[in-house]
């Protein structure tokens, strides 16, 4: 390749790289700096670890350690809902993949339709339904709707259709297994890659869900981190001048906010690292004959 063409290619890539990297870098560096330094100083610069500790102290002190509570709430909601999702969606996907029953195609089509439907569109009917069941304001009001994860059913369906040789199931049946044993002893153990995939996507979707808990939960002690962050944002003079200037009791400024955002991403990053191998395997599983 000629040098000018290489240069143009590099320039385009570098422009896009910098465009996307700068905000992330700013976010990572922001907790190390003071609010003043963030406004007056160079946008990309490192402050001090002492400033990070100070930002955490302010953040943790906010509303009586409520930030910790939000993280704990989110873990509880996301893990509970994901557990239900796994228990429900893997057998459902298996049934759709190998079952021969009337209405199978209809159920599959409905799964796809619900999958592409925006979650916000369902908030009002879900609210009315939960209200009728007297669940509004309870943990279950978030966990149960979170557990409804048609994408997980579809992932399991695709996995079983493409990656599980039908001969294996037939072999188990001939070897003396009933349908339940065939699923539990053969189909389920072979679904580890797709289990990891569903776990990851369900956990991330639940962790990031804002609108549903925002509507369904009134008590800030029950908030997940997404709703909590918006509460935090509303308490920051930088974003909400009505809460006053530096003389206020709440020490939440840009560095604290950046730290809160960064910490909120950590659990997802950990889940990703642990499920990465299975994720990659799951994504390519069935693509080639092994």
């Amino acid at each position: 390749m000629r040098l000018p063409a290489l240069g143009v290619r590099f320039l385009i890539l570098a422009t896009f790289g910098i465009f996307f990297a700068v905000p992330i870098l700013w976010l990572i560096l922001a907790p190390t700096r003071t609010d003043k330094a963030l406004i007056m100083g160079h946008p990309i610069a490192f402050g001090s670890f002492h400033q990070v500790a100070l930002a955490w102290k302010h953040l943790d002190a906010f509303s009586g350690h409520i930030y910790r509570r939000w993280i704990a709430n989110t873990l509880y909601y996301a893990l509970s809902a994901t557990a239900i999702t796994l228990v429900v969606s893997v057998p459902a996907g298996y049934g759709l993949a190998i079952g021969k029953f009337p209405g199978r195609k209809l159920v599959l089509s409905l799964t796809l339709v619900v999958m592409i439907m925006p979650a916000a569109a369902l908030v009002l009917p879900i609210f009315l339904e939960l209200n009728a069941m007297h669940l509004i304001g309870r943990s279950l009001s978030v966990i149960l709707p979170f557990a409804f994860f048609p994408f997980g059913v579809y992932l399991a369906y695709i996995y079983y259709v493409t990656a599980l040789p039908p001969d294996l199931l037939d072999a188990a049946r001939v070897d003396g297994a009933g349908e339940l044993q065939t699923f539990l002893r053969v189909a389920l153990p072979l679904a580890k890659p797709v289990l990891a995939l569903i776990f990851f996507f369900s956990f991330v979707a639940d962790w990031n869900n804002f609108f549903l808990p925002y509507v369904l939960l009134a008590d800030s002690n029950q908030y997940p981190i997404t709703v909590g962050l918006s509460d935090l944002l509303a308490s920051t003079p930088s974003f909400n001048p009505s809460v006053g200037g530096g003389g206020q009791s709440v020490n939440i400024f840009k560095p604290e906010l950046a730290l809160a955002t960064l910490l909120a991403v950590v659990p997802i990053a950990i889940v990703f690292v642990f499920s990465q191998r299975a994720l990659v395997r799951g994504l390519v599983g069935g693509a080639v004959k092994e």
Binding site: P165, D167, L168, D170, A171, A172, R173, V174, D175, G176, A177, G178, Q181, R185, V186, P189, L190, E290
Partner: protein, 383 residues
């Protein structure tokens, strides 16, 4: 161990495809029955119906004294070896073999003893702790066999178990399976599309075409006395040469040649099909005065195999082109519409014919087969 019987068994799929059509077949206790036929002939469907993996549309399958139509696979007491081996990839060889015994809730000591017995028979002891993905094709095949024999079932069902192996291993495994089946004496249905496998392994061979049973007989009988032109063309490698002919004065006229055939009085003046096995053809120069009846031909191809020479030669006359033969020809790419017929002869290795030579080929007229061209059935030759 038990007998297996198909009684007017029919399978019609949802789209109307009649995969198996009125199959009647009795398999004796301890017999190895090979079911053979081209792709789509219904052999695998028949096997899967025996296993309970396909529903039976009509008729009944009997294992021992019981009609098993409505029994689930697990209640039929059969074991199956699949073409893909179908080993459980998440289990070790030991657990794969033990799988059916664990499902049957056998005692742990009994499971260990029987797994080790099976592994001993199949030389699998060194691999018991390994996962299937670390094994070669032949070893995987043996694990699949181990899983089948460990149960001591009433019948083995084998669905083209050797088709994924290379040619050399296939020959060895063929003998191993035959010996093992003989030692265990378990009734076995063995499905294959490979007629060499069928001929070498079966106590009897059932030939199927388009869902229908064509003939069931011991291999030699199938070869020497095919009941129709399909069986004649399918069994034998190289395949039987089948030509169009006309009966004139009790003699079959094939191109320029006149070949005497017996028992065709009722066909005087009519068209017939004449079948000549490759070994019924010989280089006339080596025929020592035998084989006064000759075909004139031109050598198109010479394949020296050491113990014999396969000579492909063109001669006057036309190859038969019935539906059955066209179906078989499709598999091997024969041109049955050609003006001159190309035949294959199995010549002595002493033959000196070369490609392009014009040759005389001696025909053993005692071994000719004659078929009715419309019905495809063999014409009973009467002396």
């Amino acid at each position: 161990m038990a007998t297996v019987a198909f009684e007017s068994v029919t399978k019609v799929f949802g789209d109307g495809t009649r995969a198996v059509d009125g199959l009647d077949l009795d398999i004796a206790d301890g017999e190895l029955m090979v079911v053979v036929g081209p792709s789509g002939c219904g052999k695998t469907t028949a096997l899967r119906m025996t296993a309970g993996l396909e529903e039976i549309s009509d008729g009944s399958v009997r294992i021992g004294d019981r009609i098993v139509n409505h029994l689930t696979p697990k209640d039929r007491d059969i074991a199956m070896v699949f073409q893909s081996y179908a080993l459980y990839p998440h289990l070790t060889v030991r657990d794969n073999i033990a799988f059916p015994l664990k499902l049957a809730k056998q005692a742990k000591d009994e499971i260990r003893r029987r797994v080790e017995d099976a592994a001993g028979i199949l030389d699998l002891e060194p691999y018991l702790a390994r996962k299937p993905r670390t094994l070669s094709g032949g070893q995987r095949q043996r694990v699949a066999m181990g899983r089948a024999i460990v149960r001591q079932p009433k019948a083995f069902l084998m669905d083209e178990p050797l088709s994924n192996l290379d040619a050399k291993l296939r020959v060895q495994m063929r003998a191993d399976i035959r010996r093992l089946q003989g030692d265990l004496g378990v009734t076995t249905i063995y499905v294959t599309h490979d007629q060499v496998e069928a001929m070498t392994m079966g106590d009897r061979v059932a030939v199927m075409r388009k869902g229908k049973l064509q003939q069931v007989a011991p291999p030699e009988e199938l070869y020497d006395q095919p009941v129709n032109v399909f069986v004649a063309g399918f069994i034998g490698s190289p395949a039987m040469n089948i030509l169009q002919a006309r009966i004139e004065g009790g003699v079959a006229v094939v191109g320029d040649a006149r070949l005497p055939v017996a028992g065709v009085a009722g066909y005087e003046g009519r068209e017939v099909l004449i079948g000549i096995r490759p070994e019924s053809l010989e280089d006339a120069a080596l025929a020592n005065g035998e084989g006064r009846h000759r075909l004139l031909g031109r050598v198109e191809l010479r394949e020296a195999l050491g113990s014999e020479v396969l000579v492909h030669f063109s001669t006057a006359g036309r190859l038969a082109a019935t539906d059955e033969l066209l179906e078989l020809a499709e598999d091997v790419g024969d041109d049955r519409a050609a003006e001159r017929a190309t035949l294959v002869g199995r010549f002595s290795p002493k033959t000196r014919v070369r490609q392009g030579d014009t040759i005389e080929v001696a025909v053993d007229v005692e071994a000719l087969h004659v078929f009715d061209p419309k019905r495809g059935s063999a014409i009973q030759r009467r002396p």
